[in-house]
Amino acid sequence: MSETLFEKVWKRHEVRANDEATLLYIDRHLIHEVTSPQAFEGLRLASRAVRRPDLTFATLDHNVPTENQLDIREPMSRRQVETLRANCKEFGVTLYDIGSGRQGIVHIIGPELGLTLPGLTIVCGDSHTSTHGAFGALAFGIGTSEVEHVLATQTLWQGQRPQSFGVEVTGQLPPGLESKDIILAIIRAIGTGGATGTVLEYYGPAIRALSMEGRMTICNMSIEAGARAGLIAPDDTTFEYIAKGNRPFAPKGAALDLAIADWKTLRTEDPSAFDRHVSIDASTLVPQVTWGTNPAMTVDVTGTVPQPDQVPFTSADDAHRALDYMGLTPGTPMTEIPVDIVFIGSCTNGRIEDLRTAAKVMKGRKVAKGVRVLVVPGSEEVGAQAVSEGLDRVFSEAGAEWRQSGCSMCLAMNPDKLTPGQRSASTSNRNFEGRQGPGGRTHLLSPAMAAAAAVTGRFADVRELLGKSK
């Protein structure tokens, strides 16, 4: 039987393999300040070096304040940031520090720098490493012990090879909808544990039609369905992204031509090779919003908060706990729920295209009274690009706060957090209890839908706004 894209990339990286374990070679190791200190400490205690500092790249993202990146007031955040700086220096690892022009969320800068390429294995001590799969790389999150293992050996032990899970997305995405709606609909259909033990491959006309930014949003949230990784086969859109732009580490000229010839072989010839398969039709989708405390607890924006005994994959007890935490009553139309905070950013939706989409909705409109809107570019490069296009002014004139780059309110390790009971419309990836601050209530949606919530003060169907003249 023919091989899937995932199996091809996996096999290329086998250093040792038997029935139950494989030693995989790792081509790129990305590092951030939160999950690395104990790994470097482990190396020090064992007098070990970083085996391939030339394949290891670090940045600062989780703790970075976005009002003034340089002013890290919180002593523990400062210590963590300084620890990464010291470790990079001691072990010879390249660091994209604050103010370097290249700092940003680790999953945004990898592709920008040309580090993320088709056919590579990429790991990071961060579950959203799956983002890089949009290039046809096998990219996945690891724990800190594994970070230490990769630093010391440039390899990683894996158990049995995960199954391959094909997700076909047919049809054409209707106007006003984005790739975020596709991935929320997929997670809603298969559940938060629906892809455990598998690697997803997204394919079909609706995927092909997406930009690299849109594809990254989809692969980013693979982990929210429990998948080890999510991949999309590289094509001309991919090659163009790599060839254009300022991507210092990408191959160029003849090397790039050779690479592209190889990358063209990285595809699943025959979908019957997938161990599992599901298909969704993008043309039938409407904008998606989460109502609960995991990303599968999603409804159409035109729908209502569900009854606790009608929540797929969830017991009535668990659904009650989620409704309680979210402060919602079953049967309430989603468009009647008011929001306090809107967060546009994160490794899911903090790229230039996301900011353009949000700006398009907010241009000429005002942020609703009583709503606070944070727009946080995913990287210094995205921020600079947005400024050059005047997007920062669109946001400021509407009454939103234009910030500097970092993870920000996606997980509230920096000063940007919800207070207990506050409700957010967020373009990030996790609506877990307390994720954006203890007691905070998070609803996930697309950048266009977040912008619609910003200007209406509640969840709103962005298709209606786009139809109206401003």
């Binding site: 250093v15 374990a21 030693l23 070679y25 081509d27 790129r28 939160v34 999950t35 200190p37 104990q38 400490e41 394949l55 989780h62 703790n63 919180e74 523990m76 955040s77 210590r79 040309g114 580090l115 961060d126 579950s127 999150g141 690891i142 724990g143 800190t144 012990s145 594994e146 230490e148 293992h149 010391a152 050996t153 390899t155 032990w157 049995q160 995960p162 544990g193 455990t196 033990g197 982990i223 429990g226 580490f249 990408a250 191959p251 160029k252 090397a255 050779l258 690479a259 995991n294 969830t314 668990d318 997980l411 509230a412 390790m413 996790r430 877990f432 209890e433 307390g434 994720r435 203890p438």
Partner: protein, 222 residues
Amino acid sequence: MEPFVTHRGRVAVLDWSDVNTDLIIPARYLKRIERTGYGPLLFADKRYVPGGAPSPDQPESHGPEDPDFPLNDPAAQGTTILVVGHNFGCGSSREHAVWAVAQAGYRALIAPVKNEGFADIFEGNALNNGLLPIELPEVAWNAIVLASREDGGAETTINLQDLTVTLHPASGPEQSFPFDVPEAIRQRLLQGLDFIAETLLLDNAIRSYEQTTPAWATPQPA
């Protein structure tokens, strides 16, 4: 790593599904750069009364515990085996979640249904720390939950030599349930091996693999 051969202890039950690692340990505690001190931070936003969670720089000082949280039940005190629901440890890759469970005194976790009990990254992290994640069929899992409720934390033995979980109920016969762990991992756990040292023995294989890397796959000089 501390070897795991057999362990006998009492069982606590937290049977919620989809317990994510943000819940197991909230992000603000990830600012710590140490590898120890995470025990009191386990379920910090659930386990203490509102406002009672420790501050990240002082994990040992906290407010009163919330009596409604299952692990604060008097019968759960001193337990060393934690029975959990489906898809435990989903979400963030933070190994701090495993450190918190282990440092709160647990040596093993038991979840229902093969391949559905634990999220992938959490399971790998647990194995790297000698915390044994066991997936049992629903029937066996139910029996342990039931016994624990009746006995107030049933005595249980986990044997990694013969791959069994055995219930020792206060009354009635003992019950044993088989589980499996890939053999290579089982050997490492039994011996408490240093994984990195083991891999470094394969240095020659890694080196010869590196010779085969195509030129484009190495980062071009900036």
